[in-house]
Symmetry: C2
Subunit: 352 residues, 2 copies
């Protein structure tokens, strides 16, 4: 049976995984991450315009499902994202995600997009934006502890945005490291597989921790962190999940995305509720100094915030015409007479 | 360019508006509403199993965009829904919606569905479930004040589930009433268009109010409500939006879905915070009496709750095999090795 084509109002552009991969490969991963970093920075600079709220989490013994909404008054966005540490062993992704942008003035969605790949891109872009403002100016070597799905995106982001030329990799599973080494061949980075996290951090000016255990873990111990280092801690992102020893936190100047969320989910859940932290947007906007000395330890305690997803979705929306990588979904009922929803359904039958 | 077909894990069944209309027309609107009512009742009977939270609303001067999540521990669901009273005059729907079900154990979405039509069906089904337990046993006539998009669904639900045989319609806009009269031809209901809300309520045992103004309105005044009536108030559903005069509330026994949400959004926002109300699930489960006398005024102060959307989505999921009315969306990135997201993206380029 056939029905008349739905009105344009009913159609929402949809970016599938396949089309997201086409967008990434058309633009190039490094350039795309750098461009998303630009959108993220631009949105951090207008921080006050955003409705901000901690994500809405539904926890279970296996993991968490979260909704992350925000709005800049003109556009509304949200991401659906799960985090299930045991998924990998069962052949599923630890994190999958999709997101939506909508018009605030009429509530109509204007974009539905896969966000598993896009979250990896925006997380790397956010880390790189923070490091641009916080890492030692001459940082060339980054240690990466945890070589899972996020690893290569981080490496490429730090090369493109921060200017590193070497990554030193370590993972408890050597196969993960071997995978990252393969994938980063030809990236322009010198890639060194290490046998321990101590070896990985040796000589590094930046340390990225990105592991997925849902428990209080200690990926970095205090003696591994020398003066002057920038720590990019992205694996601690839900209650009970941290990566750094508490003593490291006490020696660091701590920068966060949105304190009400980070105090629940980030490394700083190990600290007192009033432990001083600086909001990243304050540094980007010049209201607060980032790195002030060569011996300072800076820590970006990143948990991922809704505005970053908003920035990434905004970026994808702006690539639709440029790349043509989307299809339109008949997702919104749009009767000729808005009050005649019932008649629309009935007429669909008559016309079939 | 082509890429290999995504794995089955990456695919999410999607019910478009067109396919939702096919499902409705295949099953029949009245039967489908009755079946959804069965799902809603079943879920109200296991109320304790659900994670319940007031919806997460983003308000603007034009309207509201809301996310309504819930979970029964096995399945997670949420609805995206907007409410923009000025939309109709601009040719848009006041309310559009879509929703998702996901597995709690691994966080993977298992259904994406339009919910503009489905919300109309579930709202009518919920109203009918409440009336089945609260309306006078011999109710045959329902007044309907407000003849917009929800009107016909309510009428059909009350015929199918409650057993009414007559609807008396009134709307400030006679064209809305005329539309409802046309659409209800052949429904088995006697349909009477009235010139005033007073005429519409005359002789009715049930009064449904369903208007869309975002302001404190008085659709029903105290003198229009006689003893023994059941009021089904579904239009007051956000802060500042009510339909009934406060005096009516004070004369009524009030039944609600989820008090923390209804006190913010429902008619009872006009009352003290501790004004007694009964939760509908308590009545359905027999823990609390519904109608106890012929002179009692019962009021279902309905704002729509996440579990009802969950029930409706659960119903739709169960119709997928039966109707075949869906397509599969490539929405979840699913690399062969879950840690190799980057490699998946890169290989998509090589294969293209």
């Amino acid at each position: 049976m056939t029905t008349p084509a739905p009105s344009k109002l009913a159609l929402v552009p949809f970016v599938s995984v396949e089309n997201m991969m086409r967008i990434v490969n058309t633009i190039g991963p490094a350039r795309m991450i750098a461009e998303i970093a630009g959108y993220i920075e631009a949105d951090f600079l207008r921080w006050d315009q955003f409705d901000k709220t901690p994500r809405v989490a539904s926890h279970s013994k296996e993991g968490v499902i979260e909704l992350m909404p925000t709005s800049d008054g003109e556009t509304y966005g949200f991401k659906y994202v799960n985090g299930h540490p045991a998924n990998m062993a069962r052949g599923f992704q630890t994190v999958t995600a999709f997101g939506v942008l909508a018009r605030v003035d009429n509530g109509y969605p204007v974009l539905l997009s896969e966000m598993t790949i896009l979250t990896a891109l925006r997380t790397a872009a956010t880390s790189a934006v923070a490091a641009k403002h916080l890492a030692p100016r001459d940082a060339k070597t980054m240690a990466m502890i945890g070589n899972g799905a996020q690893c290569e995106f981080q490496a490429i982001a730090f090369r493109e945005v921060v200017g590193i030329d070497t990554v030193q990799l370590y993972d408890v599973d050597p196969e993960a490291t071997a995978k990252a080494v393969r994938n980063l061949a030809g990236s322009g980075l010198q890639v060194i597989a290490c046998d321990s996290s101590e070896d990985a951090v040796a000589g590094a000016q930046i340390v990225t921790t990105c592991t997925a255990d849902k428990q209080y873990a200690t990926i970095l111990t205090d003696n591994m962190v020398g003066p002057g280092i920038h720590i990019n801690a992205i694996g601690g992102d839900c209650p009970g999940k941290t990566e750094l020893h508490r003593d490291i936190l006490l020696r660091s100047d701590i920068f966060v995305e949105y304190p009400p969320q980070t105090r629940i989910e980030g490394e700083i859940q190990q600290l007192d509720e009033d432990h001083p932290v600086v909001e990243l947007w304050q540094v980007i906007s010049g209201n607060h100094k980032g790195r002030v000395s060569d011996s300072q330890i800076t820590l970006f305690d990143s948990v991922g915030f809704a505005t970053e997803d908003f920035s990434a979705l905004r970026y994808v929306r702006d690539q639709l015409d440029r790349t043509g990588c989307y299809v339109e979904l008949d997702m919104l009922a749009d009767p000729d007479d808005p009050r005649d929803l019932f008649g629309m359904v009935r007429r669909a039958k008559e016309k079939s």
